[in-house]
Structure formats: structure tokens, C-alpha cells
């Protein structure tokens, strides 16, 4: 089937078998290997990307069902060479060890902040529960996300990206 996927602002016309997941499309067909395949069953969150601004598991999504959608992966978060605030905060707080879950954690955190429903540490933990980190970097992931949330609430809203 012919589909058009807008990935990180670039339109890609692709011919795909209907059983191709969005995850495999990104990694194999588009060479965007930042999005990781962890469990491939929607249980770990490593494959999290943003579709039309919402965080989803790309491993349980058929690419042909996202014809025309705007997709943001870890490769699309930095703008003009400047890291996304969440990426910056993950470095500041050393919020990873092996790094395999990190692209999913970061895309999920970007989605979380856009949703605007996490205000306390408990709420961040609960609403990040779809992303597993087997190294156990959770305290630092939490600190990184809390830093960006507190910056957001302190600063006037800015225009632009997710």
C-alpha cells in the first residue's frame, strides 16, 4: 500500500505491506534507528513516538493506519542544533545508564508535558509508568522531567515545537 508519513517534518511516500508496524517502518524503511524495539508488545515503552502530538507505542501501530499523520521521533526533537529541554535535562541529571530506553523515555516525557496533567512527583511517576528502565535510572529520570515542568510553570509560555 502507498502511504505518506510526515516524519520530523519530512514527507515520506512509502509502499508498505499492511502488517508493517510504525516501529519497523521508522527503523528499517526510513533508517531512523533512534526509536528502539524493546519488547515489541506494548509493555516497555522503548518504541514511544509522538503521532499528531500524542505519545503512542509505535510497535502496536500499523504504519498504513497513520497515512498522512505527523510523526515526531527522538531524531526530530532538537531544533536548529539546540537540544529539546527534555534532552538537555536528561544530560543534566544523568537520567540514563545503558541508554536503550532513553529515546522512548524522552518522547514520552515530551508527550507528558504537552498533556499538562503531571504536577507532582507522584503524578510524573504514574504518568511515566509506560516506560520501563531496566537499569533503574528512575530517580534521575524523574528529576529531569520535574526540572522541565518547573521551568515551564516559572517561565511565560513560548511559541513553537512540542
Amino acid at each position: 500500500m502507498m502511504v505518506t508519513l510526515h516524519v520530523n517534518g519530512v514527507a515520506n511516500k512509502l509502499t508498505l505491506a499492511p502488517w508493517t508496524t510504525l516501529l519497523d517502518t521508522l527503523r528499517i524503511h526510513l533508517g531512523l534507528t533512534g526509536t528502539k524495539k524493546g519488547c515489541d508488545h506494548g509493555q516497555c515503552g522503548a518504541c514511544t513516538v509522538l503521532v499528531d502530538g500524542r505519545r503512542i507505542n509505535s510497535c502496536l501501530t500499523l504504519a498504513v493506519m497513520k497515512d498522512g499523520a505527523q510523526i515526531t521521533t527522538i531524531e526530530g526533537l532538537a531544533k536548529d542544533g539546540a537540544l529539546h529541554p527534555i534532552q538537555r535535562a536528561f544530560i543534566d541529571h544523568d537520567a540514563f545508564q545503558c541508554g536503550y530506553c532513553t529515546p522512548g523515555q524522552i518522547c514520552s516525557a515530551v508527550g507528558l508535558i504537552a498533556e499538562g496533567r503531571a504536577h507532582t512527583a507522584d503524578e510524573v511517576r504514574e504518568l511515566m509508568s509506560g516506560n520501563i528502565c531496566r537499569c533503574g535510572a528512575y530517580p534521575n529520570i524523574l528529576a529531569a522531567i520535574e526540572q522541565v515542568i518547573s521551568q515551564k510553570s516559572a517561565a511565560p509560555p513560548r511559541d513553537g515545537g512540542p
Binding site: 500500500m1 499492511p18 502488517w19 500499523l62 498533556e115 507522584d122 511517576r125
Partner: protein, 338 residues
């Protein structure tokens, strides 16, 4: 995944027509359960009919003051809809107790009703399972059955229904609207899911050519005295061992109306009208709740690893009714059980 045909439905009538034309077809929307089942080889559809472009994404007031929820409303949008948060907080709470934010963003209202059991043997195609392969036997009855049912089981199946949302919908007396070749019909929530009996391959009473178009909530939302308590092996992102939805209407310390539904204990969300009516007129105190819990579990039967579930369910029912009566519903953010 097995190879399958893929088509889009242009409207509800087209969806019904396409489904009727292909006995091996399945509808797909959120895909959170179906795609996984296809990957595991448990579901092997000949065709997927994409229904995500149908106009079933609205949430509207009904003539009687209730709400009609389109089948394609995502779980997260439903949970956080102002009308749901304000008028049906039990449903809000139950949805947020289930899955993860990513899955709730994908999963739809109609699809949530149709998700299949997470029994390990149902997923493991190398083992017998009457639900997956009728007549092959049940591996769970004498196997690892810690997660399995204690109510309404049969010698053929002891699987549980995995949904949290459906437990709240059962307690709220929701109705399911479905359209098929014979037109539209409205199904009481209690009649939608089935007990396993000797045909555990059928989870619901939906006909093959029918599509869920909406869920209707009656006006009464029990927004003052309610609670959803989910007990599981880890605090988030896990299926229930036992879940309880409680909703009370209390007048001068006496229970005027009681709703009690259990998740994680049966092949369907478990409502017990006898236990509920026993609560009517009773004082809203612990002794009444203990009696109700004993009543709900009068015929409970366990299978070894899940023996603990009977006592766990008893305590969870008492705790959830107490939370509801006190107006202190279980928080799905702060997980401490008070």
C-alpha cells in the same frame, strides 16, 4: 504477523458490509490488543478493516440527561473529558487505573470492551486452551493460575476479563450500542460479556457482523460516593489481581442504592444484584460491607495459586465500599490505600 488484506471502512454500513463479506476479517482501531495477538499468532485475521476514519469519535448528551460516548473516543480523552471527571468520576478513575498513557492514547472505548484475556496459556500457542482452540483443554486449571478467576468459572475456562474501564461501566449500568446487518440494537452492559460455560471461545454476545458504535451512560453517575480500588503485583501498568468499583447513594446514613462490580475475578465484570440489594436500606458502616463481601463471594472457588484471591477480594470489597461511603475515593496517582 500473518499476512492479511487491509481495507478502510467509509461508513458504518460499509464496515458491516465488509465484515459480512469476509468470515476471517476483524475490525481494527487502536490495535493495542489485536496487533499484539496477531504478533503472537493467537489471532490470524484474513483481513483488517480499519474503522478509525468512521465518525464515531464524539461524546454527546443524550435526551434523558446521560452521555453517549462514540466507540472511537480514545481512553485518555474519555478519562479526562470534563463531563466524565465531574459526573462519572468512577469511570475516570477506572480508566486511569488501566494500561499506560501511551496505550490509553491509542485504545478506543469500543475496543476496550473487546480486549481479550491475558491468561498466559491463551497467549502461548504451544499449550492447550479452550478459548484459543475449542476442545483442546484448559492448561490453567491445573497450571499457573495466580491471575485467574474465582467466580463464574467452568471446567473449560478460568480466564478473567482484563479491563478496568468495563468494571466501572458495569457498575454504572452502561449500555452498548451495536450495528449489524439486522440494524442497530442496544445491549445492557451485564448482557454484553459472557461467562465461559462450555463455549469460552466467545467473550461477548456481539454478533460477527456487528460493530460497536457507542456506549451510553445513564444520567446517574454516583459522583459523591464512589471508589475504584485496583490491587495488582506492581503499582502501575499491571493487570488486576482484584479490582472493585463501588458506588453508593446514601441518605441519612442509610444506603439508598448500591452498585458493586469486580474486575480480575471472572470472565466478565462481576455484578451481584443479590449482594447489592442486601445493602439497600442498610446503614453505611463496615458491618454492612462485610456482609455484602461475604455474599458476593459465597460461591467463590479457587484453583491453587489463586487461593489468596478470595480473601483479597473480600478485604478489597470492604475497603472500597468504606472509601465510597466516606467520600474518600482511591487516588490513582498517590497509590497509598487508605
Amino acid at each position: 504477523m500473518n499476512n492479511f488484506e487491509f481495507s478502510r471502512a467509509s461508513d458504518v454500513a460499509d464496515a458491516v458490509r465488509q465484515m459480512a463479506a469476509d468470515p476471517g476479517a476483524k475490525f481494527v482501531a487502536g490495535g493495542t490488543n489485536l496487533i499484539d495477538l496477531i504478533k503472537e499468532g493467537v489471532a490470524r485475521p484474513s483481513r483488517l478493516i480499519d474503522i478509525t476514519r468512521l465518525p464515531l469519535g464524539r461524546l454527546d448528551e443524550t435526551g434523558d440527561g446521560g452521555l453517549r460516548i462514540g466507540a472511537l473516543v480514545p481512553n485518555s480523552d474519555l478519562a479526562y473529558h470534563p463531563q466524565i471527571e465531574k459526573r462519572y468520576p468512577l469511570l475516570h478513575s477506572a480508566i486511569l487505573a488501566g494500561a499506560s498513557p501511551q496505550l490509553r492514547n491509542m485504545a478506543t472505548t469500543g475496543g476496550n470492551l473487546l480486549q481479550r484475556t491475558r491468561c498466559f496459556y491463551f497467549y502461548d500457542t504451544t499449550t492447550p486452551c479452550n478459548k484459543r482452540e475449542p476442545g483442546s483443554g484448559c492448561s490453567a486449571i491445573d497450571g499457573l493460575n495466580r491471575m485467574h478467576a474465582i467466580l463464574g468459572t467452568s471446567e473449560h475456562c478460568i480466564a478473567t476479563h482484563p479491563s478496568d474501564m468495563c468494571v466501572a461501566l458495569a457498575a454504572l449500568d452502561a449500555r452498548v450500542l451495536a450495528t449489524g446487518r439486522d440494524g442497530e440494537r442496544s445491549i445492557a452492559f451485564a448482557d454484553f460479556h459472557r461467562l465461559p460455560g462450555d463455549t469460552p471461545q466467545f467473550d461477548t454476545n456481539l454478533k460477527k457482523d456487528e460493530i460497536i458504535t457507542a456506549i451510553e451512560l445513564p444520567p446517574k453517575g454516583f459522583a459523591t460516593n464512589y471508589s475504584y480500588l485496583k490491587i495488582r503485583d506492581r503499582l502501575s501498568y499491571a493487570f488486576a489481581l482484584v479490582a472493585v468499583a463501588a458506588a453508593l447513594e446514601i441518605e441519612n446514613g442509610a444506603i439508598k442504592e448500591a452498585r458493586l462490580a469486580l474486575g480480575g475475578v471472572a470472565h466478565k465484570p462481576w455484578r451481584d444484584r443479590q449482594a447489592e440489594s442486601q445493602l439497600h436500606g442498610a446503614p453505611a458502616i463496615r458491618e454492612s460491607f462485610v456482609r455484602a463481601a461475604d455474599n458476593v463471594l459465597r460461591d467463590a472457588r479457587s484453583f491453587g495459586h489463586n487461593d489468596f484471591k478470595i480473601e483479597l477480594a473480600r478485604r478489597a470489597i470492604v475497603r472500597t465500599l468504606t472509601q465510597a461511603a466516606n467520600g474518600t475515593p482511591q487516588s490513582q496517582g498517590d497509590k497509598r490505600i487508605r
